[in-house]
């Protein structure tokens, strides 16, 4: 039995050096697994001229050097990769678990009150809903390998800021639409910032630069303002080694 029955895909031209591959089963979990496993396969297949693959939710951007390979050849690689996945019995890496302390509200989460107003619930409820979910990291996004996650179950999708901020600090914990994220680096941002973690996500001396990968799971834990300093400067690390895979999704 294959571990994953890959979704059917559509392939779109995206300029002379990239293709967008979209999984079309309509089953979010299957489509997500398909594009991530396909990206892994492409990264490991060693095809000349293939720069790499950027998988997100239901799609993967495949980048290549137009001098050495053509879009048509890359399409053939994608088809081959999907056939290989259908035969593979490997069910991928075991998810690791991350525990992320967060100071909610105030200067750390300037949009918390607005968000509570907008959702028609209390600030405490926003914090409770946000910190009670177990998040799956769906992909690494902009900026700087941000962990992109399916958002908390708020009553309504979260609107983006009308006026994006020019600078959001590293560690900012934010939500938008039905998504959640932590900012690994200072960057402009249009998401609603509900809190901030004192942990450091990005380490330029490490390869890869962030400790998590798509498929890992993460929980937010409210802490008091006074506790922020105690965690500051600590690197974000997986909470348990991969010794207890059965508990990883508990």
């Amino acid at each position: 039995m294959p571990a994953l029955m890959p979704s059917a895909v559509d392939v779109f031209e995206s300029g002379d050096a990239a293709l967008r591959v979209v999984a079309t089963s309509g089953e979010p979990e299957q489509d997500w697994a398909t594009v991530h496993r396909l990206a892994e396969w492409l990264d490991g297949c060693g095809a000349e001229g293939l720069h790499g693959a950027v998988p997100t939710y239901d799609s993967v951007l495949v980048e290549f050097d137009a001098l050495t390979v053509s879009a048509r050849q890359i399409r053939a690689f994608v088809a081959l990769g999907l056939r290989q996945l259908a035969l593979s019995t490997d069910d991928g890496a075991t998810p690791r678990e991350f525990d992320v302390p967060v100071v909610y509200g105030g200067a750390y989460g300037p949009d918390l009150e607005y968000l509570a107003d907008y959702e028609g619930i209390s600030v405490e409820d926003v914090i409770r809903i946000h910190s009670s979910k177990t998040y799956v990291i769906r992909c690494l996004g902009a900026p700087a390998g941000s962990p992109m996650m399916d958002g908390p179950d708020f009553p309504a999708p979260v609107p983006r800021l009308k006026d994006p901020r020019l600078s959001v600090p590293a560690g900012a914990v934010a939500v938008a639409g039905r998504q959640a994220v932590i900012a690994p680096a200072v960057a402009p941002g249009g998401w609603q910032v509900v809190g901030q973690t004192p942990l450091t996500l990005l380490n330029l001396d490490r390869d890869p630069l962030v400790p998590y990968r798509p498929g890992d799971v993460l929980r937010f834990r409210p802490i008091a303002v006074e506790e922020f300093a105690a965690y500051e400067g600590q690197m974000m690390e997986a909470r348990r080694a991969e010794a207890h895979p059965a508990e990883a999704r508990s």
């Binding site: 995206s14 137009a66 992109m148 690994p184």
Partner: protein, 337 residues
């Protein structure tokens, strides 16, 4: 190490290469030289690997001196180049003696220039590339007084007769102007813009001063998305043309965030991105529709010209006894079996 270049006037200059191609899969933009053709040409002109670290100068004047004899080439936007006070040609190898000052002034016909040094310079790398990443705070931004190690010295080469130009390698140069033509292919979400998509090819756009290595913002008549609803974040290619607001078109360049939630109307071709790298605020841009097949063929023709240049440089440098690239030195050994 063989010596150092000492930056006297940094202007707006960095050490870069062709980009961090392993970056996007980890959420980092590719970055690297924005005008890839000019950067490759500069390195080829001094017999470096295409991807060797070199200097990228943006808009502002630049001066440096060197503690050892070096060989350089300056490409990119038209400018005035002097070495030790002598006017020197751009797009040709230029010999610089220890103690002489290299001055680049008046980058006006475009926005970016490249200075390659034979043997290259020493620069830290991240995921295999020295390209600066402003978001994660990595890279060598040059400052006044900064010293950068050069990796090879080259005895001075001077034309003994009346300072005639030393080389005439006749490189194909880009022709930036104030009115730019940028080729694009249809983006994966072209249909989401309905008939208004064609406005992109009929209108003229003006480059906003808020443009940078992440993306160019262009004012003009804007296509409008006819569909609504949240778009899931997706990997977006360098060159993606998006309409994120009612005021401006956005064309993403090599510093772009790798994922975004805006529909991709069109994608600038690799050669089109080189044109955009030289666009100055106030320049006008017209987009011309092409196909991926034509864009690829055009890109490969352009790379063939650089390959021909590489052969000429290797021939000339071998005659002059200038250290040649590694793969050239390997040839006799291979021939000897």
């Amino acid at each position: 190490m063989s010596g150092q270049i000492i930056v006297q006037q940094s202007g707006n200059s960095v050490v870069t290469d062709l980009g961090r191609f392993r970056g996007p899969r980890y959420g980092l933009p590719v970055n690297g030289a924005l005008d890839q053709y000019s950067a490759r040409a500069a390195n080829i002109l001094v017999a470096n690997d295409d991807n060797a670290p070199l200097l990228e100068l943006t808009a502002l004047d630049f001066r440096m001196t060197t503690t050892s004899d070096i060989l350089i080439a300056v490409t990119g936007a038209p400018l005035s180049l002097t070495v030790g006070g002598r006017a020197c040609p751009q797009w040709e190898p230029v010999s610089v003696r220890a103690g002489e000052t290299v001055a680049v002034r008046g980058i006006t016909g475009g926005l970016r220039a490249y200075v390659a040094i034979h043997g290259s310079v020493d620069a830290p790398t991240l995921l295999g590339s020295c390209a600066p990443d402003t978001v994660v705070g990595f890279g060598l931004q040059l400052r006044d007084g900064m010293a950068v190690e050069t990796l090879r010295r080259v005895p001075p080469i001077r034309q003994p007769y009346f300072d005639m130009p030393l080389f005439r390698l006749a490189v194909e140069r880009p022709h930036p102007g104030r009115r730019l033509r940028v080729e694009v292919t249809d983006g994966p979400d072209f249909a989401e813009f309905g008939d208004s998509a064609n406005l992109l090819f009929r209108s003229e756009y003006t480059v906003s001063p808020r443009s940078n290595h992440i993306g160019l913002r262009l004012g003009g008549e804007l296509p409008e998305r006819t569909t609504t609803g949240e778009v899931l974040s997706r990997g977006v290619p360098v060159g993606a043309v998006e309409v994120p607001s009612r005021h401006e078109l956005l064309v993403l360049h090599r510093g772009r965030g790798v994922t975004a939630g805006y529909p991709v109307l069109a994608v600038a071709t690799s050669l089109g991105l080189d044109v955009l790298a030289q666009a100055r605020p106030g320049d006008t841009v017209r987009f011309a529709r092409t196909t991926v097949a034509e864009a690829t063929a055009g890109y490969r023709r352009s790379m063939q010209q650089l390959e021909a240049l590489r052969q000429s440089v290797i021939t000339v440098f071998t005659l002059l006894g200038i250290g040649s690239p590694a793969r050239w030195r390997e040839l006799p050994a291979a021939a000897c079996g």
